[in-house]
């Protein structure tokens, strides 16, 4: 198992290499230069052109692409992601603030997805085409087809503005003694995590329902019933245990996806995560930040896939580690 994980981790390196090359190339195809906006628009900087040239040179942007790429990789291997052009801060500092927030949001959303999606899907399948199944299926289709930001605004309107139950922004309450307590943080997580989770809840419900229905008609379920097992044991030990396998795979894939999917919602909920950082960096051509965030998104997706494979291997004895 351990050697499998290590082998898989090593296997990520070529993929990451290719991703960095692509990102690097695409980034340099983007028109504009961070310093033109930062310096060129300040009427009081003498010889703005010279200063821009100087800053560009300091940032190594006038080197050839391959040379810039090599420099970046060498720094990366030293744990140095560079300095943000815009904030004049080490990129690691910015990411150190943003990444935990985004990961917290994504993991909470995953939790909500699993806690709701799996049971609802199973109960739907268990009472297929009955009232519960049909009504929740309609809800699921609705949730899946409405864009996330619409829910975001709706939930904020309802729970924050109208009922005043939950905060609409940030991860903690400012300027109160309990700021940053666990309860405070959970309160702030509820709306954004729910919004992020809703479309996936719908998807997981449908997936779980379909899986469960499929497993219901498998021979081994009939065997289990022929053994006189109670219907609960048949459902949870025999049906669910098999039906959940595709879900775990999906779950791993989604971890990376949710981190990326949080980008727009983070803006609405003013969630200080990777989304805001990424959008800002792209608007301002903040190359070191763009590279770092893209790399992290890529790593998230790859790790998610790896995690999915490991989960699958641990859940399904037919899968071997090779």
């Amino acid at each position: 198992m351990t050697s499998y994980v290590i082998r898989r981790l090593l296997g990520l390196i070529p993929t990451l290499f290719i991703i960095t090359v692509i990102v690097f190339s695409l980034m340099h195809l983007m028109p504009g230069n961070a310093f033109q906006a930062l310096i060129g628009l300040n009427p009081h900087i003498k010889d703005a052109a010279k200063v821009i040239a100087q800053r560009t040179a300091n940032a190594g942007l006038n080197l050839s692409w391959p040379q810039q790429y090599v420099n970046w990789i060498v720094n990366l291997l030293h744990g140095n992601l560079g300095t943000s052009f815009e904030f004049q801060e080490p990129v690691t500092t910015l990411i150190g603030i943003a990444l935990p927030n985004t990961v917290t949001l994504a993991l909470t959303a995953e939790l909500i997805i699993l806690i709701i999606g799996i049971p609802v899907g199973v109960f739907q399948a268990n009472r297929v085409n009955k009232g519960f199944d049909i009504s929740t299926s309609l809800v699921a289709v609705f949730l899946y087809s409405v864009p996330g930001f619409v829910f975001a605004l709706f939930l904020i309107f309802l729970f924050s503005f109208t009922l005043n139950w939950l905060p609409s922004m940030g991860t903690v309450t400012a300027a109160v003694p309990w700021s940053g307590d666990l309860g405070d943080r959970i309160q702030h997580l509820i709306l954004p995590a729910t919004t992020l989770a809703l479309p996936s809840v719908a998807y997981y419900t449908r997936l779980m329902r379909a899986n469960t229905l499929q497993v219901f008609f498998q021979d081994y379920v009939r065997t289990a019933r022929a053994k006189g097992l109670r219907s609960t044991r048949v459902l949870f030990r025999h049906v669910l245990r098999n039906a959940i396998i595709p879900i775990t795979t999906q779950f791993g894939f989604d971890i990376g996806g949710l981190v990326g999917g949080a980008v727009i919602l983070e803006q609405i909920f003013t969630w200080p995560g990777m989304g805001e950082l990424t959008i800002n960096a792209n608007l301002n051509r903040d190359y070191p930040v763009i590279l770092a965030t893209t790399l992290i998104f890529a790593v998230m997706v790859l790790l998610g896939n790896l995690f999915a494979d490991i989960l699958l291997a641990s859940m399904d004895p037919r899968v071997r580690y090779n």
Binding site: M30, G32, L41, H44, Q88, G170, A175, T270, N280
Partner: protein, 575 residues
């Protein structure tokens, strides 16, 4: 964001970063009437907003973030400030005068000026602020951009900076509370545009740390003392800055106990205002009617101190011969129905602009031509320069070649795109076949403008805007040699007598004679009249600053330059 009297923000900022458009309120005091009637109460928490995350460097002048600057301006006062009439007035310094040759300024620190821990502010603190702005660490290592504020001081080399800790010979400590600054050249704009911004720094904290280490030092991450009305108590990166009242504030201890800056998406800020979670925030002009219906809110509207314009690349290789004619640009000014655009784009909450200074500005020349909408006059002017209406009903170049200029606009801003549609239809009405290019990234526009010295870039017409600083000094943007003129206006032909006059008037507007305010007004009036007649670009209008604020907030002084005097604001209870 909000700018207090001090000049922490760049003197001019592209308004195309429209997200960050400044907001302030109509000149005057919020519900002044009730303020007189009901007794002022102390205490309470006020919540203001930033639309996106703030930077994390809180030593004055260090952050490039306008939001960080806004929060910093609450914690650190500069030596002088601007009052609601845009005139320099007392702050940490309460007496100042100039030498007869107008080169030396004498300042006296208010004997009551203290840091928030009760220590008195000294000339040593002022000196540290001066040294910081001129230090190599600030200007080179940290990439600071405000060193220009002191570049005219005697002893500052042409590089614009000195070794760390070195004080220019033009700065002299005359006593514990008296100091002087001597300039290389007398300059009427020096005090209001530059010296007002000198900001004392706490010597007993920062004096012990080498300037090369200031950035990122604990005091930079969270300055726990200050000289402004509100001192930072906690910072949550990306989310909020909490500040408490400074009991020693030189202009009087604030009534409000706590001020919180929260990062809140513009998508939801209206709702937060309505629910009372936010005390005061800028809103879009088009939302005014809706927000006026919210019972717990007041709305303040004030013109902004800036302008938007339709620019033409006057040196354009294809059409420069037409663009560069003032008559052409005058015709365009008459052809565009600007009041209709303000009504459509900003629900009427906008102000027409006729020159480089907006009508709200103290220095505005009230006798400028207002170019009322007059397509007939536009047609006549276009005819007069030989642009005949040819095949298809479109005007041609005077030499008969087709004339199909293109308008380049920035993507991601729907207002700009609607603005372009209006301009296109108004110009087509006078037979100018203007085409709109597909929107492109703002950075691409900047790249094209920056490299258009030969007039061969694809950009021909464009929409940009500037917001202005307190002082009307045109330098930096309007002189024919200013880089930003070259890049964003292109009114630079040295052989053009109008441009020669422009440079001359600008020079006169800050010379020694301009220390006489009437002379400076007269010169700036002439300069505005010149630009009003020449129209280096087509001045359009600017959206007004609309602020919504809770009815329990009183005493806010709304001006085009920011919401002033936070120490005088107060919150009524039991609203």
């Amino acid at each position: 964001m909000k700018r207090k009297s001090t000049l922490f923000t760049a003197a001019a900022v592209m308004t195309l970063s429209a997200l960050f458009a400044g907001y302030s309120g109509g000149i005057g005091v919020a519900d002044a009437a009730t303020a007189h009637r009901s007794p002022v109460t102390n205490g309470g928490t006020m919540v203001q907003t930033f639309p996106t995350a703030f930077g994390l460097n809180f030593i004055p002048f260090l952050s490039t973030s306008a939001y960080t600057a806004a929060a910093t301006s609450y914690s650190f006062d500069s030596i002088l400030r601007f009052n609601r009439n845009d005139q320099v007035s007392a702050d940490i310094v309460n007496k100042w005068w100039t030498s007869p040759d107008k080169k030396t300024y004498y300042f006296q620190i208010n004997p009551k000026a203290r840091w928030s821990n009760g220590m008195y502010i000294t000339t040593g603190d002022v000196k540290l602020g001066v040294d910081w702005l001129l230090s190599k660490s600030y200007n080179v290592t940290d990439g600071g951009s405000y060193g220009y504020l002191l570049s005219n001081v005697v002893g500052v080399p042409s590089s614009g900076y000195l070794p760390d800790g070195q004080t220019p010979s033009g700065f002299k400590i005359l006593g514990p509370r008296e100091f002087s600054v001597t300039l290389q050249h007398a300059d009427a704009a020096a005090l209001p545009a530059n010296l007002v911004a000198i900001t004392p720094l706490p010597t007993y904290i920062l004096g012990k740390i080498p300037m090369s280490q200031w950035k990122g030092t604990p005091f930079d991450r969270h300055p726990w003392i200050g000289s402004g009305p509100f001192i930072t108590t906690s910072i949550v990166p990306g989310q909020s800055i909490t500040q408490k009242a400074n009991p020693y504030y030189v202009l009087g201890a604030p009534h409000i106990a706590q001020n919180v800056w929260k990062v809140i998406s513009t998508d939801v800020v209206n709702g937060d205002l309505a629910s009372g979670q936010v005390t005061m925030a800028a809103i879009h002009a088009i939302d005014v009617a809706q927000m006026k219906k919210v019972p717990n809110l007041n709305i303040n509207v004030v013109p902004s101190n800036g302008f938007q314009y339709l620019g033409w690349r006057l040196n354009n290789a294809t059409y420069g011969s037409v663009f560069s004619q003032a008559t052409f640009r005058q015709a365009v000014e008459y052809a565009i129905n600007r009041p209709a655009m303000v009504k459509a784009l900003y629900a009427g909450y906008g102000t027409l602009e006729n020159g480089p200074l907006p009508p709200i500005n103290f220095w505005y020349n009230k006798s400028l031509n207002t170019y009322p909408y007059d397509p007939a006059k536009a047609n006549a002017l276009l005819n007069s320069i030989g642009m005949k209406i040819g095949a298809g009903g479109w005007r041609t170049m005077p030499n008969g070649q087709p004339f199909t200029p293109t308008l380049t606009i920035s993507s991601g801003d729907t207002t700009i795109q609607r603005q372009a549609d209006f301009i296109q239809s108004f110009l087509q009405a006078v037979h100018i076949n203007l085409k709109i290019n597909p929107p492109i990234n703002f950075n691409t526009i900047l790249t094209q403008l920056n490299s258009d010295s030969n007039g061969k870039q694809p950009i021909q017409a464009f929409l940009l805007g500037w917001s202005l600083s307190n002082d009307p000094d045109p330098r930096g943007l309007w002189r024919s040699t200013d880089n930003l003129n070259i890049v964003t206006i292109d009114w630079t032909n040295p052989k053009d007598p109008a441009i020669q006059l422009n440079d001359k008037l600008i020079h006169e507007s800050h010379g020694k004679a301009a220390y006489n305010i009437n002379y400076r007004i007269a010169t700036l009036n002439k300069w505005q009249a010149l630009l009003n007649q020449q129209l280096p670009e087509n001045f359009l209008f600017d959206a007004n600053n609309v602020t919504a604020y809770n009815k329990n907030l009183h005493g806010v002084v709304f001006t085009p330059y920011g919401n002033l005097d936070p120490q005088k604001w107060w919150l009524s209870t039991g609203n």
